[in-house]
Symmetry: C2
Subunit: 202 residues, 2 copies
Amino acid sequence: MTVRRLSVYFRCLAQLEEDGVRTISSQELAARFHLNSAQVRKDLAYFGEFGIRGIGYDTANLRAEIQRILGLDREWRVVLVGFGNLGSALFHYRGFARQGFRIAAIVDDDPAKVGRAVNGLAILALAELPRVVKSQAIQIGVVAVPAEAAQAVADRLVAAGVRAILNFAPSRVKVPKDVRLQNVDLSIELENLSFHLGQAPR
Amino acid sequence: MTVRRLSVYFRCLAQLEEDGVRTISSQELAARFHLNSAQVRKDLAYFGEFGIRGIGYDTANLRAEIQRILGLDREWRVVLVGFGNLGSALFHYRGFARQGFRIAAIVDDDPAKVGRAVNGLAILALAELPRVVKSQAIQIGVVAVPAEAAQAVADRLVAAGVRAILNFAPSRVKVPKDVRLQNVDLSIELENLSFHLGQAPR
DNA sequence: TAGATTGTTAATCGATTAACAATC
DNA sequence: TAGATTGTTAATCGATTAACAATC
């Protein structure tokens, strides 16, 4: 939950920095998100003393600190598994690169796709996974395959040695607990929307 | 938060029903998600008395009740705005239909795309939005355009009369508070992953 | 009736907020 | 020094969990 808020602060600070705002108080920062200023201070103080009493926070400095805390100051090397509609959309999604996620390899089990190149990056066979994870020093596997194939792909990614999996398939997968798993489950978002629409009057 | 858990119960119950399990206790249900049985009972009791003391919950009945609560027993009519990589991926994503989200129209501002048909559904010009929302009785707008265009698209959707917006663009948009907004922000998921990887030892 | 399990009340825990001494 | 704002401790609030009477 704190990380979620740090993400929000980060983007806000980046914007403020662009706008030429040099310092900002917890009060002002909180007001932008309907949050409490004590919460902002507590979130930040947890990671260190970044503020100056009587003044507030140096915008650029705080932005840099949060960037470092979130690990956004470094590059994460990613293998994209599955180059269907979703995989292709993710590959072209600029937000990935913006956050330091570098797609260093693509694999797919469809022989018709293997060998093709997108933006100069060749699509490799699934069997190449262990070799490419090692040679490309890949840390993260992105699963963009159909639900029924997700677990098998996750298993192969873990065996190949990735440290984290970002799962876009609409199914839960299980991984050893030393591997970080992040599910991006669209179903839950849809159900949330559906529920709240159902509650509304009309 | 409760809705999130209801979603999880729902999928679990659907699975149990398929497996032929007739009744399940809060204890058993909780065990599957490392939750507390009191929490399961409380979540469910909030919406009504669905259980039978001494027995547990009827799997099929509870599944149906949650389905109704989540609004998954009805169809939601959707307009997809933007048919780039992301829009195309969402259009072909089977989870949408599975949850009752029926894409009834597609609009895009690229003249090269307007007029094309996908699976028999024509891509319309952005200017058609007010007309199509009305004629197709559309309740939900899905925003799948670049970040810089998201706010303008959201405004047009609201003006056209949708009741909810599902925003996939990597930017926050503002809508009147009688319109339900759900952001699917991949950036936050990436930052979460990045943060936790950064904390891990190696 | 005895055993099991619900729905709900009371106790606990953690997260949010208020208040304030420290200090720029 | 006076005013402002931090970092942090204490108070509050809400959500989770334990306990149990109701009841199948």
